[in-house]
């Protein structure tokens, strides 16, 4: 199921419902061929997360997602001991423990006997695997998506390094766990803060920009097969004009799709001043932005 060439990547991603630019296809191919993580940057709504999903679909792998946030720590990302379960088991097998130490002459001997059983309590059974451990201990190769890594603390970023370069994690009680299959790792970042050099060095970098008009049209046609050709053309043209405005949040491909869908639902076939004004809320996420678009309506609706 591996990719054979860059063309193969393009073709299979398209079949999985994602139209990649040449750059994206090249980077995905290289990452798969050399088993390196990809660090994807770009404006919000540009299809960063969707790329990971599409790669998982076309490789026929499961996708495991770790959403990063401030304060995320190892217990939430890697593994946790299930203390409650351990305590419960201890209670239930109390008699068994009594049997075990029944014939012991001294406390030291009793402790020794219990110590022999220690492994039973720090075993797979009581480990709660979080996304990272799931990804490397899975029986089948998976796609691991670490979303919005820039939201996590720098400490967490440092902790990821072992995983990303060696594909192994160390659990003090159990030793080092090596990955059974090396997962395909995709990290996304919204550029909230700069990533450390060490992390960048381990990844291949990919920047997903606003798509070229041609590409954007193809994406709209793929996602919304029923759309009128002329409307799609006008839409893409208008969105590109809107992106040139000095906005707080520029509309990205996901907003374009939402907008196209809204127009289709409302049965609007022609992009008029009124139509844009009515559906503006779909592409402008701030009131000031909507005002700005209304003010420069002429420019937005101009054809070239």
């Amino acid at each position: 199921m591996e990719f054979e060439s860059i063309e193969d990547v393009t073709c299979r991603l398209e079949r999985a419902g994602y139209i990649p630019s040449r750059e994206i296809a090249t980077v995905v191919f290289l990452a798969a061929a050399t088993q390196k993580p990809i660090l994807v940057e770009g404006p919000a709504g540009g299809g960063k997360t969707e790329l990971a999903r599409a790669v998982a679909r076309c490789l026929g792998r499961d996708k495991i997602r770790l959403q990063c946030y401030e304060g995320l720590d190892e217990a939430k990302a890697l593994y946790e001991w299930e203390y409650a379960k351990q305590l419960l088991y201890t209670q239930m097998i109390k008699e068994k423990i009594n049997d075990l130490i029944a014939g012991a002459d001294s406390i030291a001997e009793a402790v020794e006997r219990i110590a022999e059983q220690e492994d039973a309590f720090f075993s797979e059974r009581f480990i709660l695997a979080r996304p990272l451990l799931q990804a490397i201990s899975s029986d089948k190769p998976v796609v691991l998506l670490i979303d919005e890594i820039d939201k996590a603390d720098p400490e967490f970023e440092a902790f990821l390094l072992e995983l990303l370069s060696e594909f192994q994690v160390s659990i003090p009680e159990l030793g080092i766990r090596k990955a059974r299959h090396i997962p395909m790792v995709v990290l996304t970042s919204n550029n909230y803060r700069d990533m450390s050099d060490a992390l960048k060095r381990r990844c291949i970098h990919l920047y997903i920009d606003y798509p070229e008009p041609e590409l954007e049209k193809r994406i709209i046609r793929l996602k919304l097969p029923g759309i009128d050709e002329a409307l799609a053309d006008r839409l893409v043209c208008a969105v590109n004009h809107i992106r040139e405005l000095d906005m707080k949040k520029r509309p990205c491909i996901s907003e374009t799709l939402d907008w196209a869908q809204a127009l289709m639902v409302l049965n609007i076939g022609e992009l008029s001043c009124q139509a844009v004004s009515d559906t503006l809320n779909v592409i402008c996420k701030y009131r000031a932005d909507a005002q700005l678009v209304r003010q420069s309506m002429d420019k937005v609706l101009s054809v070239k």
């Binding site: 860059i6 090249t26 980077v27 700069d194 990533m195 050099d197 990844c203 291949i204 970098h205």
Partner: protein, 452 residues
């Protein structure tokens, strides 16, 4: 192949891209996986390995174009038309003299950029050396650049005036193109492409009237009123902070404590207890311009920061005009309003000097750089008006490398940024966030976002 790649990496490093040997090896490995005839693909591979953030990409593209498509990069149309002698002949006809600058330009036209680049480098460094008179300015550097540009223009005009039909037209066109390149190098200003920059304009109306009044035009009575409003706001924020902390402090199970409590119920752990962990608090370093009108905005910001001190793990503040003064101590030992008065009457701050941001950053780097680490948010309050002196934005870039975030608050409306002696657009390229901060409403927006 590998030799050429190593040369390219050396060029990247010279352009301040950090490329490690590991990345070079990776890139070499990647290049073997793809078809190299396709240039776009080749470039993608190089870029994916060597430029690992959006900020670096612009620098990478420049190096790439220079290295593979610049003068002296192998196939080059213009070179066919120009051999050294013909070019010298042509340019002297176009009115070129024989001094050092002209020689450098001639070399550049015939494909050897080194001496012209040296001229540019000398011009750059001239700005850094303090002049003997003690007056600081970067006018000398600007004048030097102007002279080079005028010379290039004159030669180009000369080339255009050459009589037709002598068979020199293609060569003249080539030479002119080269001169365009030279001018491009001369006038180019490297400014990193700042993708993550948030430019925030707030429109929330927290308070009518007083909230919209610009800081610079407040009457003493209104300043008193403003203080009350700020006190009220501080109480509200602290309250919200407290609740947020309480909710998000729950940590993992505290086994020791749970087992200890289990003793009360014959060893059955009925009551679970959890670890509490402190939420991370930001460290703040604030740099405040205290000259003229900017001070009125800075004082309210400082007032707020210090009233909310327990929401941050530490607050360090510096006041500056043309040098930095540490005012943390003053705020630590005095009540806020008194502290503000003290700062204003502090003899250490040269209120009559001209604002010099370059000097301020330089001094900050010398003495206070150690205060900045990955947990620090740097807040700069100022209009970025540096009286035409060297902005030294490279130091700000250095601070960005070490800090968590740089936020610049500018008390001027956005339309005035970059006009006159304002270096705002230069500095903006290195900030994570820029905001206008003219009145209380905008300040409240900022503080709320910072704290919550």
């Amino acid at each position: 192949m590998i030799d050429r790649l190593i040369q390219f990496v050396a060029a990247c490093r010279a352009a301040d891209l950090r490329v490690s040997t590991a990345e070079l090896i990776d890139c070499h490995q990647h290049l073997q996986c793809v078809d190299l005839v396709d240039e776009a693909r080749f470039k993608t591979v190089l870029r994916a390995n060597f430029a690992k953030s959006r900020r670096d990409q612009a620098a990478f593209d420049r190096v790439y174009d220079l290295f593979f498509h610049g003068p002296g990069a192998g196939e080059d149309e213009d070179a066919q038309h120009l051999d050294a002698e013909a070019a010298a002949d042509l340019l002297s006809q176009a009115g070129m003299g024989g001094d050092g600058l002209d020689a450098a330009l001639l070399d550049f036209v015939t494909g050897d950029p080194a001496s012209f680049l040296q001229v540019l480098k000398d011009l750059d460094q001239q700005a850094d050396a303090p002049s003997a008179s003690g007056v600081k300015s970067n006018l000398g550097q600007l004048a030097g650049r102007m002279q080079v540009m005028l010379r290039i223009n004159a030669i180009q005009r000369g080339l255009a005036r050459l009589p037709d039909g002598t068979g020199q037209a293609p060569a003249a066109a080539s030479a002119s193109r080269r001169l365009n390149q030279a001018r491009g190098l001369l006038t180019r200003q490297n400014r990193p492409y700042n993708d993550g920059l948030r430019q925030v304009r707030s429109h929330h109306k927290h308070y009518q009237g007083l909230g919209e009044q610009p800081f610079s035009s407040l009457t003493p009575a209104e300043i008193e009123q403003m203080r009350d409003v700020i006190q009220q706001l501080v109480r509200k924020l602290k309250d919200r902070m407290g609740r947020r902390f309480a909710a998000s402090r729950r940590g993992g199970l505290d086994v020791r404590k749970t087992l200890r409590r289990a003793g009360r119920f014959q060893g059955v752990p009925l009551e679970l207890s959890y670890r509490r962990r402190p939420l991370r608090k930001t460290r703040i370093v604030a740099l405040c311009d205290v000259s003229g009108s900017v001070w009125s905005a800075a004082r309210f910001m400082l007032h707020l920061l210090y009233s909310l001190q327990d929401c941050f793990s530490s607050v360090h503040s510096f006041a500056f005009v043309s040098g930095t003064t540490d005012i943390t101590e003053i705020f630590a030992h005095n009540e806020v309003n008194r502290a503000l008065e003290k700062v204003l009457s502090s003899p250490d701050i040269g209120f009559d000097a001209l604002t010099d941001y370059g000097e301020v950053f330089y001094e900050f780097r010398q003495h206070h750089m150690h205060r900045i680490n990955r947990k620090t948010t740097v807040i700069i309050v100022g209009d970025g008006r540096s009286n035409y002196q060297h902005p030294r934005e490279s130091i700000l870039a250095e601070i960005r490398e070490k800090a968590r975030r740089i936020i610049w608050l500018n008390p001027e409306p956005e339309a005035f940024w970059g006009t006159g002696d304002s270096e705002m657009h230069t500095y903006k390229a290195h900030c994570h966030e820029v905001r206008t901060c003219q009145n209380l409403n905008q300040l409240i927006d900022f503080i709320e976002e910072l704290v919550l």
